[in-house]
């Protein structure tokens, strides 16, 4: 599945080196098994455009993380090429007590969080189900483009939904999956952040 290139940096110097290698702009995300909500911990910095910004940024997010959770084990930070803006969507999977593995789709931000404009299908879902699900949401017309928002190709959304459908039905130890946000472009898509929650184990955040 499409994920922007990333590498783990364990020091300020490493962070800078990786940024140089990947190319700017980059984002930094703190990596700690004890911190699940990176944004809350102020452990995410976007749009860093120079070596100095990266170095300063790295120090800052480590500081913020320690402030948020003093006893956290901090491995370092992910340095990731920053994805260009596309249409933000959210794809998720959960295990519903009635229906079992269930998929969710919605547009990012207020659409999902405030307006609850989301659609569900029961996994395993086929291509038909998944295409219908995408068009179920009221905001579906935005996919064809709107003002400065470029159109988002449906096929890559379909691919990711089908892949998640396979993953949640095929892996009993996965209890929840959250791909948020996913940037969808005219061609292709990029999963910016994802979270997978496993049953009966410590939560782990996929990088």
């Amino acid at each position: 599945m499409p994920v922007p290139v990333f590498r783990l940096a364990g020091s300020t110097l490493q962070a800078r080196e990786i940024a140089e290698e990947l190319g700017y702009p980059v984002v930094l995300k703190v990596v700690s098994r004890n911190i699940l909500h990176k944004t809350e911990a102020r452990g995410v910095l976007l749009g860093l455009n120079s070596p100095t910004e990266v170095e300063e940024g790295y120090k800052q997010i480590i500081r913020n993380a320690k402030e948020y959770k003093p006893d956290a084990e901090i491995e370092g930070a992910l340095v990731q090429r920053m994805a260009p803006n596309g249409l933000e969507i959210i794809i998720g999977a959960t295990r519903d007590p009635q229906f079992g593995p269930t998929l969710m789709f919605g547009l990012g931000g207020v659409f999902t969080e405030i307006l609850k404009d989301v659609a569900f299908r029961i996994a395993p879902a086929d291509e038909n189900d998944v295409r219908e699900m995408i068009h179920d949401i009221r905001a579906a017309p935005i996919l064809t483009g709107y003002r400065s928002q470029c159109p988002a190709n449906e096929d890559s959304i379909v691919k990711i939904l089908l892949a998640i459908s396979d993953m949640i039905t095929g892996n009993d130890e996965i209890s929840e999956m959250d791909l948020n946000p996913i940037m969808v472009y005219e061609k292709g898509a990029s999963i910016i952040d994802a979270r997978i929650v496993l049953e009966k184990q410590a939560n782990s955040s996929i990088r």
Binding site: D96, Q98, F99, M104, E113, K116, A119, F120, E132, D136
Partner: protein, 444 residues
């Protein structure tokens, strides 16, 4: 279960307020052709039927036992039925899972398996098969028809019969499914798929206990006959603490929405809607697309119908120039012919006839809604005209007749001839949308 030759009512009662009496009364009233055996150790005769002390005292075979005894003795009664080699049981008795005692229901399920008996209930209001004159229910003796109705509430089920009666809609089967200790909605769907007396399955649902199975069964069954569900929510006992967006987004009802769509099940949001959709689906062909024509005798309802159609995702396209030219031959110069076609006020059935025929043959539309207001004096003639003008048509026709009870004679004529009639344009529009949705499901 549905074709018993003999029925025992265990817990039959001489008290006319008890279910054990009501069921006997309905079985007799419905003219059940088989044998009925009331079971009650304290009576010799109820409603003219010889009454036995226990079910094992009856010498004949008993196919179906309807149990209406106090909760505490239901379990032992099931054992007695097993000894008597009863094939199916309906438990009217209540006071089990709904009061939190799910262990007892588990016990019933285990007995069902052990004895090879299917059990409906507990907390059921009974079952009926109108084509066998078998009305083993406390809820009444509704007229025979093509709709099978499964209800998770017995009482609500009875009320819905009344609504259906008003629409002249009859039932093939009714199952008050109760607490589903054994027979579930999914089991009933599978059975009804092959039931020739049933053309549409309507369901009133509070909760589905075997969600995944329901989706896969309904997906298959809905290809054979439409399934319409009216679902209400239950108070959630508690929600899992959600870590991710997905978990917190999962409001149970939105998931049901998605599951129903996936299963090709049509959803209704109130009891009238449930029966209106059932009525449309049993009587009218399905539209091949979403383009709807509207014929009206007054501007207002035509506009209302057009609005409603658009809001429901149906199109109201302009009809062809040829059709409009034809229409103009019958209509006054100030009549609108684009769609909605407004005949303006007219009593002349010939105008209706011409317009209905023209619009039904217009290739730009897939279905027609006719809105009529009042016209009480000529209602029967109008109704017959509409019936004749649309006979043998492959496109669906729905009528909205706004006139209160004075138009009941016209409604009766239309319904008798398989044309659904609704009190307002909006209701006709949503019934048309329901047809279009089911049509789309089948074309998937």
């Amino acid at each position: 279960m549905f074709h018993p030759k003999s029925i025992a009512v265990i817990g039959a009662s001489t008290n006319s307020l008890r279910p054990g009496y009501a069921i006997l009364r309905n079985l007799i009233k419905g003219k059940f052709k088989g044998s009925i055996f009331p079971i009650n150790p304290n009576a010799l005769d109820i409603l003219g039927l010889k009454t036995y002390r226990t079910v094992t005292d009856v010498t004949d075979d008993i196919d179906l036992a309807i149990i209406a005894v106090p909760a505490a003795i239901v379990s032992s009664t099931i054992d007695e039925c097993a000894r008597k080699k009863v094939r199916a049981i309906v438990i009217i008795s209540a006071g089990f899972g709904e009061t939190g005692q799910t262990n007892v229901e588990k016990e019933f399920r285990e007995k069902a398996k052990k004895y090879g008996i299917r059990i409906v209930g507990p907390n059921s209001a009974g079952i009926l098969n109108s084509f066998e004159n078998m009305y083993g229910t406390i809820e009444g003796t509704p007229t025979k028809g093509p709709v099978a109705f499964l209800s998770q509430s017995g009482a609500f089920g009875g009320g819905i019969f009344g609504l259906a009666q008003d629409m002249q809609l009859g039932f093939s089967k009714f199952v008050s499914i109760g607490n589903m200790c054994d027979v579930t909605f999914s089991d009933m769907l599978e059975y009804l798929a092959g039931d020739r007396d049933t053309k549409v399955i309507a369901m009133y649902v509070e909760s589905i206990t075997d969600g995944r199975r329901f989706v896969s069964v309904a997906k298959r069954v809905s290809l054979h006959k439409p399934v319409v569900v009216y679902k209400v929510g239950r108070t959630q006992a508690g929600r899992r603490a959600a870590i991710s967006h997905t978990g917190s987004m999962a409001t149970s009802d939105q998931i049901y929405d998605g599951a129903f769509k996936q299963a090709r099940v049509i959803r209704a949001y109130d009891a009238e809607e449930l029966m209106e959709y059932a009525a449309a689906l049993t009587s009218q062909p399905l539209p091949k697309g979403r383009r709807i024509g509207i014929l009206t005798d007054a501007g207002g309802p035509g506009v209302a119908a057009a609005d409603a159609c658009n809001l429901l995702g149906l199109e109201v396209p302009e009809v062809s120039e040829t059709t409009q030219a034809e229409l103009r031959r019958f209509l006054p110069t100030f009549a609108s012919t684009r769609n909605p076609v407004d005949m303006t006020f007219t009593h002349d059935p010939k105008t209706y006839e011409a317009c209905v025929k023209l619009l039904l043959s217009e290739e730009r539309i897939d279905g027609l809604i006719v809105t009529i207001t009042s016209h009480i004096e000529v209602q029967e003639e109008l109704a017959h005209t509409i019936v004749q003008s649309s006979s043998n048509c492959e496109k669906p026709l729905m009528v909205s007749w706004t006139a209160g009870r004075m138009a009941d004679p016209a409604r009766e004529i239309l319904r008798r001839n398989g044309i659904p009639v609704y009190p307002t344009p909006e209701r006709a529009a949503r019934a048309m949308a329901c047809q279009a949705s089911y049509s789309k499901f089948l074309r998937r």
